[in-house]
C-alpha cells in the first residue's frame, strides 16, 4: 500500500512539474480518439437508426453479428489493419502503417459497432413508435427523421461517450498499428503499458490519472450538455 501511495505522489508531481513528452502524448491521444469517434459516429448513427427502425430479411443475423462486433478484440482489429496497411497489403501504397492515421482507422473499426449497437437497440424499441406517432400526426418521412434524432439525442450522446471511452482506453490495436514510436505514435495507453513493462510505475500511474481525468471531464461536459436529461425520465 505504501508503495502504491509513493507511486501516486510521484505521479502527481510529474503532472504538476509538466513533462513535455507527457503533454505531447496526451494531445495525440485526444486527437486520435476524438477523430476516431467523430468518423465512427458519422457511419454508426445513420446505420444504427436505419437498421433499428427498418424490418429487413436477416435482421436477427445482423443483430447477432453486430453484438459480436461490439466485443471485437482490439488486437485482432490491430492485426487486420496492420496487414491491410503493411507494404504488401491491400492499402500498403498509402504508407499509413505506424502513423496516427492508422491508429484512427483501427479505432474507427472498434468504435463503430459500439455506437451502432447502442443506437440500434434504442431505435429498435422506440424508433418505429416515434415514427408512427409522427406519421399519424401528419408528419412526413423527413419530419419523422428529425423527430427521431431529437427524441434520441440522449441515447446518441451516451453512444458517443461510450465509443470515445473505448477509443481512448484501447491499447492493443494502437500498439500494433502505431508501434508506440516516441514523439510520433505514442499515446497514453501504450505509454502506460510500456512504463509498466519497464517498472516505471509512477510514470504509468501518472498517465493513468490523466486518462481518468480526461474521461471524467469529457463525461461531465456531455452530461451537462444533454445526458443530465436522462435523470429526469
Amino acid at each position: 500500500m505504501e508503495y502504491f501511495y509513493n507511486s501516486f505522489t510521484e505521479a502527481i508531481q510529474l503532472l504538476i512539474t509538466g513533462d513535455g513528452e507527457v503533454y505531447r502524448i496526451v494531445l495525440l491521444s485526444l486527437l486520435v480518439s476524438f477523430s476516431a469517434t467523430f468518423f465512427a459516429s458519422l457511419i454508426a448513427i445513420p446505420l444504427g437508426l436505419l437498421t433499428g427502425i427498418k424490418n429487413f430479411k436477416f435482421k436477427k443475423t445482423y443483430t447477432r453479428l453486430l453484438y459480436t462486433l461490439m466485443g471485437l478484440p482490439p488486437v485482432v482489429v490491430g492485426l487486420i489493419v496492420a496487414i491491410m496497411l503493411s507494404r504488401r497489403g491491400l492499402l500498403g501504397r498509402f504508407e499509413l502503417l505506424y502513423t496516427s492515421k492508422a491508429m484512427i482507422i483501427a479505432q474507427v473499426l472498434l468504435v463503430t459497432p459500439i455506437i451502432t449497437g447502442i443506437i440500434f437497440n434504442h431505435a429498435k424499441v422506440y424508433g418505429s413508435k416515434i415514427c408512427k406517432v409522427c406519421y399519424t400526426l401528419g408528419g412526413s418521412s423527413y419530419d419523422a427523421l428529425w423527430l427521431l434524432i431529437r427524441e434520441m439525442r440522449v441515447t446518441m450522446l451516451i453512444a458517443i461517450v461510450t465509443g470515445f471511452g473505448r477509443a481512448i482506453s484501447e491499447v492493443g490495436a494502437v500498439m500494433i498499428v502505431g508501434g508506440n514510436i516516441k514523439y510520433h505514435t505514442r499515446v497514453m495507453t501504450t505509454y502506460i503499458a510500456m512504463n509498466n513493462g519497464m517498472g516505471n510505475y509512477a510514470k504509468a500511474l501518472a498517465m493513468g490519472i490523466v486518462l481518468l481525468l480526461i474521461s471524467f471531464t469529457v463525461n461531465s461536459i456531455l452530461y451537462n450538455y444533454g445526458m443530465g436529461e436522462q435523470d429526469e425520465y
Partner: protein
Amino acid sequence: MNIEIKGLKKTYGKRPILNIDHLSLERQKIYGITGMNGIGKTTLLKIIAGLEPYDEGLIYYNNATLNKSLMKQISYVSQSPYMFKQSVFDNIAYPLKLRKINRDTIESDVMALLNHLKLSSLKDCKANQLSAGETQKVALARALVFKPSVLLLDEPTANIDSETMMLIESLIRNCVNRDQMTVLHISHNAAQIERLCHQVIILEGADKLRIL
C-alpha cells in the same frame, strides 16, 4: 371522411386476423368497435390509419386510396401513446407546428384543448412524466388539435376516471359535429359505447363481423 373497406384480409403468419367482406363508414359518425382480446380491433384501426400493411383488399377514403395528403387527415391514438420528451404544451402543439400554423393560433388552439380537458395546470410539465390517465388525455388532445377528418381511438378512456370520461366524450361529440369527423373508437365499456357511438361494430372472429 367516408371510408369503404372491400375484401380486406390480414393474417399473422398462418393465423387469419381479419377477413372483412365489406364495411362502410360514414362521415360525422362515431363507430364503436368491440370484441374479445386479440380479435383484430387494433389491427383494423392500424390498417385504416395506414400504419399496418394488409394482404388483400381495398380501402377507399372518400373514393380514393390512401395517399400522403389523405394520411395527413387521419389521426390515431394508440393504447399506450408515446409522449415526446417535451412539455405537455409542445406535445399538443406538435401537429400544428408540422402544418406551419402561426404561433398565436397554436397558442389559442392548444390552450382551448388544455382548458377543456382540465390540463392547463400541467401545461409546462414534461409529458413523459405524466400518469397513464393524463397521458391518454394529452394524446387525445394532440390527436384532435389539427382537426382530422378521421379519428381512430384505441381504448382512449381505459385509465380515466368517470368525470374525465364524460369530458372526453363531450369533446369527441363536439369535434364530430363541428369538423364532420369520422370516429372509430375501440372500447370494452358497453355503457360508453351506447352513450357515445352511433353504430357498433362487433368483431366476433376473423370473418365474423356484426354492425348494430
